[in-house]
């Protein structure tokens, strides 16, 4: 059969189906295979909050977008080259995300009258939409072909139907010329006790591949070469995984046992799941009765000399705030991870947002500053987490680590470090000396020493009441209170001396427009800046990891640009802090839709503000 192999630098595929159709698994397997092949890759799972939303409806559509390529990839793509739609609702919800000239693979069984009705498309079948005029549409009866491939299988009809996502996967592996091996191994491991299920899934996977091979309908196959990533050993990592591994690594490097107190919440729970698997690192996970117990148990553990960690998302963080204030008074290490989601209140549990920055920096009673560190991507989550732990332990303070739903569930290749190359983390322990022990004596960094129960002669009492300087005894003295408030603030400010200076990520270090970003907007801005630089725009990009305290030289960086554009997935929070701190008017770019920026949106805003 004649076939054309078209070379492509980057491809974006969007899998869309019912939330029970296995689109997340399909997307993850597709991702692993391409990562192993050597492509750079970025993913964006987008699913409903309901575990099984009403079948066949638009509300129940689950999507998984993945971009892979032979060049560097920083976002899961603005629009899709290939859309897989398992039913009418999936197409209706995602049609607009397909590029002109793109490919639609539609499971015709999902477009029968029942499905059209469920998707509220009785009047117009989305397959016949005008919007698909510039699109190559492949109608494939995936359901029928799956059943045919399993004619001899002893599985029930329902079980057979459940394998149809493997058909899609096999077919796409054919389309992109990829091996089935990694997925076959995955299936064999996952269903190791169910040989019939293994056989069925592998048969359907192969059937999908062979369908591409034998069906005359498809002539185009694509060739995406491995990416020119930095040489080295890579793995694929998801954001929550990166956080979990970062916590374990940092605890180990600090010589501390980790205690993780957590209450289940979307999208942070995967950190708990990951950590619970690694008890052989002496990780103690504690599924607490509520968010308050999660953080306070971690504080108790830190008092006992462990690394206390807790994680949650916005609503849970709100519940933890009083306890974070206690940790500020106690001056003990505590890492609080906030995997942000759309708010306020319960908000959009499965959607992403960056609207908890002001909560992180300011959201406590009293004068209660804490360091805030933000991760920017799945592959950087490890390093950001490691830094959060380092600051917390070496500066004896609670630290807030911000991630978000986009980072948490996204995946990308990660050139991981060797353990021996990680910065040492040195806890400052109190020791018994001739002199009387002073729990609140400080070193040059204004950090007090950690006295661990069990150490003879260092018995002491601490608490949430204001401390007398040095002794730590309860004090209501007015001058002492003012002094302690200032000392605690200065201690946090001084951390700026122990973090790197702000660097320019890309572009010029002075000129017309600086894009100042933080958190998961990194990828979209990075891609946008690359495009703008190609078109000779005078732009620079600075990305903040340290949000409190900010790098020492940030003010200077800002003065070197005529304009500063601050893109955020909120209604303008970083911009508040920057403007009040540095007296520099900035241009806000806000998106509050529960979905990440596209790079095109950033490019457009720069162009608008360029003149």
């Amino acid at each position: 059969m004649a076939e054309v192999k078209e070379k492509r630098e980057q491809i974006t595929v969007l899998f869309a189906g019912d939330s029970g159709d296995g689109m997340q698994l399909t997307g993850n397997q597709f991702t692993s295979t391409h990562a192993l092949f050597g492509n750079d890759i970025s993913t964006f799972p987008n699913f409903p909050a309901e575990i099984r939303a009403p079948q066949g409806t638009v509300n129940g559509v689950s999507g998984f977008q993945v971009k892979f390529g032979s060049s560097r990839i920083f976002t899961p793509g603005d629009a899709a080259d290939v859309l897989v739609a398992m039913n009418a609702a999936a197409l209706k919800a995602n049609m607009h995300k397909l590029k002109k000239g793109g490919i639609l693979i539609a499971n015709t069984a999902g477009f029968d009258s029942k499905n059209l009705k469920l998707a509220n498309c009785e009047d117009e079948n989305p397959l016949e939409s005008e919007r698909l005029e510039d699109v190559m549409v492949y109608d494939v009866d995936i359901t029928e072909l799956t059943m045919a491939a399993l004619e001899d299988s002893p599985l029930t009809k329902k079980e057979k139907l459940r394998t149809k996502n493997m058909f899609v996967l096999g077919f796409l592996f054919w389309m992109f010329n990829r091996s089935l091996e990694s997925t076959e191994n995955y299936i064999k491991e996952k269903f190791s006790k169910l040989p019939d299920v293994i056989d069925a899934n592998v048969s359907v996977l192969k059937a999908g591949y062979n369908f591409g091979e034998t069906s005359e309908a498809f002539t185009s196959r694509y060739q995406v070469e491995p990416a020119s990533l930095e040489p080295g050993t890579y793995r694929s990592v998801m954001g929550n995984q990166g956080v979990a591994i970062g916590l374990i690594a940092a605890a180990k490097k600090a010589g501390l046992e980790m205690f993780y107190g957590s209450y289940p919440i979307t999208p942070a729970s995967d950190i708990l799941h990951e950590l619970a698997k690694h008890k052989n690192f002496s990780v103690r996970t504690f599924q607490a009765e509520d968010e308050i117990a999660a953080v306070t148990s971690a504080i108790g553990a830190s008092f006992g000399g462990a690394l206390g960690v807790t994680a949650s998302s916005g609503p849970g963080i709100a519940l933890k705030t009083e306890a974070i204030g206690l940790a500020i008074m106690l001056e003990l290490p505590l890492v609080v991870v906030n995997v942000q989601r759309g708010g306020p209140s319960t908000g959009l549990p499965t959607k992403t947002e960056q609207a908890d920055l002001l909560q992180a920096v300011y959201g406590r009673n009293g004068e209660a500053p804490i360091p805030v560190v933000a991760a920017r991507s799945p592959e950087e989550a490890f390093e950001a987490t490691y830094e959060a732990v380092r600051i917390s332990v070496e500066h004896m303070t609670p630290v807030m680590l911000l991630s978000d739903g986009y980072i948490a569930n996204g995946a990308s290749p990660w050139k991981f470090p060797e353990a021996s190359s990680l910065k040492p983390i040195k806890p400052l322990y109190a020791e018994k000396t001739e002199e009387e022990y002073m729990p609140y004596a400080r070193d040059e960094k204004l950090v007090r020493k950690w006295a661990i129960p069990g150490t003879e002669g260092l018995e002491h009492r601490i608490g949430g009441l204001e401390k007398e300087e040095l002794t730590g005894n309860v004090s209501y003295d007015p001058d002492n209170h003012e002094k302690m408030v200032k000392l605690r603030a200065e201690k946090i400010d001084k951390i700026a001396d122990y973090i790197p200076e702000q660097e320019i990520d890309n572009g010029s270090d002075s000129g017309k427009v600086l894009i100042l970003s933080w958190g998961s907007t990194y990828g979209a801005v990075k891609t946008a800046v690359e495009d703008l630089l190609k078109d000779d725009y005078d732009v620079g990009h600075a990305h903040l990891r340290y949000l409190n305290p900010m790098p020492r030289n940030l003010g200077e960086v800002l003065t070197k640009f005529d304009k500063v554009l601050v893109p955020e997935m909120n209604d303008g929070q970083l911009i508040h802090i920057i403007q009040s701190k540095y007296n520099k008017r900035c241009i806000p770019l806000n998106k509050i839709k529960g979905i990440p920026f596209t790079s095109a949106e950033i490019v457009e805003s720069v162009k608008e503000n360029y003149a």
């Binding site: 192993l36 009765e289 148990s297 108790g300 553990a301 006992g304 129960p453 069990g454």
Partner: protein, 341 residues
């Protein structure tokens, strides 16, 4: 596990240098003294003892103990202690809390600590009032009480703390009272001896906002007929053995032992391991006013079951046995890696 180091202490070795700031006549003084005496008697090294409190008058307690301690935030002592004991099973952890702290704002953490059976000693100072905030009713204030926040009488139905602990499957449940120093100390020692969560309710008089709340159990003229001090293996008699408790089916009743109708041999014998008996004793409470039953003091229930922290430590050991001590490089690399030229 750390080796057992026993030291010789006197009660005063546990007094800190801080000036005690409870109101004159507060029941807390007597409790502090007996706790100091009890921990001295255990011989545990003071550096391995931690007192954690929440907020309230009683929660000042850790400042007065020369051990490690934390005066934390309202209601959370139990949760903080849960984390501490889980991370450091080798420490002896005491929780100091009050009726508002542990049964109102911290009610959730208390019941979860009890069900998990974390080996801590919980001393609940029950004065049936909010003292530190100056006299509002608490979750144990009897219905109808007139307080600052209930000028027309309390309409909240109160908790029966012993029933609550029993309902949460606490492994050790006892009640004592601030006016019985020897009994208190004995209960504290038994609580400390018990492996698992030990729940001790202490009736504590607040002379300022709720004076005399427990007069019926402490006044010389009243206490004999109103209190039943129970001991394992002993028949339940009180009022100088003039009265006893017998079971009429499952219903307890007070009988006159001076008449010919009943003798000591008819009386219920206390068995702290018997849950049914514990349940019956927990019901000797104000809720059933018609029964005229005495208030019970002593160890009401005691059972041994595995502690949370031991089971978690076992899982950690098992994980190390099965997978080997964590290899950081292997963890960071994960199961699938590839090399990029």
């Amino acid at each position: 596990m750390s080796e057992v180091k026993e030291k010789k202490y006197k009660a005063k070795d546990f007094a800190s240098d801080q000036e005690i700031r409870w109101c004159p006549g507060c029941g807390d003084y007597a409790i502090l003294k007996q706790v100091q005496s009890a921990v001295a008697q255990t011989g545990k090294p003071k550096e391995e003892i931690v007192f954690i409190s929440g907020i309230g008058c009683s929660s000042r307690f850790p400042y007065y103990m020369d051990t490690y301690g934390m005066h934390s935030i309202h209601g959370r002592a139990t949760a903080i202690a849960s984390g501490l004991k889980t991370a450091r099973p080798d420490l002896s952890v005491w929780i100091i809390t009050g009726d508002g702290d542990s049964l109102s704002i911290g009610g959730n953490h208390l019941i979860h600590l009890l069900r998990r059976n974390i080996d801590t000693n919980i001393l609940l100072f029950n004065n049936e009032i909010y003292g530190l905030t100056k006299g509002q009713y608490s979750p144990t204030t009897p219905e109808g009480s007139h307080t600052k926040s209930s000028p027309m009488g309390v309409i909240d139905h109160p908790f029966n703390p012993i029933s609550l602990a029993l309902g949460a499957d606490a492994g050790f449940i006892a009640r004592t009272v601030d006016r019985e120093p020897r009994h208190m100390k004995d209960i504290f020692l038994q609580a400390d001896e018990h492996k698992g969560a030990s729940f001790v309710e202490i009736y504590q008089n607040c002379p300022v906002f709720n004076d005399g709340a427990f007069n019926a159990y402490t006044d010389r003229g009243l206490k004999d007929e109103n209190t039943l001090f129970i001991e394992a293996g002993k028949p339940m008699t009180f009022h100088k053995d003039k009265k006893g408790i017998v079971l009429d089916g499952l219903k307890p009743k007070v009988v006159d032992l001076t008449s010919d109708e009943y003798s000591v041999d008819d009386c219920l014998v206390h068995d702290p391991s018997d849950r049914t008996v514990a349940y019956i004793l927990s019901q000797f409470f104000d809720n059933d006013k018609s029964a005229d039953l005495p208030r019970v003091f002593g160890v009401i229930y005691s059972e041994n079951r595995p502690t949370y922290e031991d089971q978690l430590s076992n899982q950690v050991e098992l994980a190390i046995e099965e997978k080997g001590e964590g290899d950081l490089d292997a963890l960071i690399a994960g199961p699938n890696t590839w090399y990029h030229q």
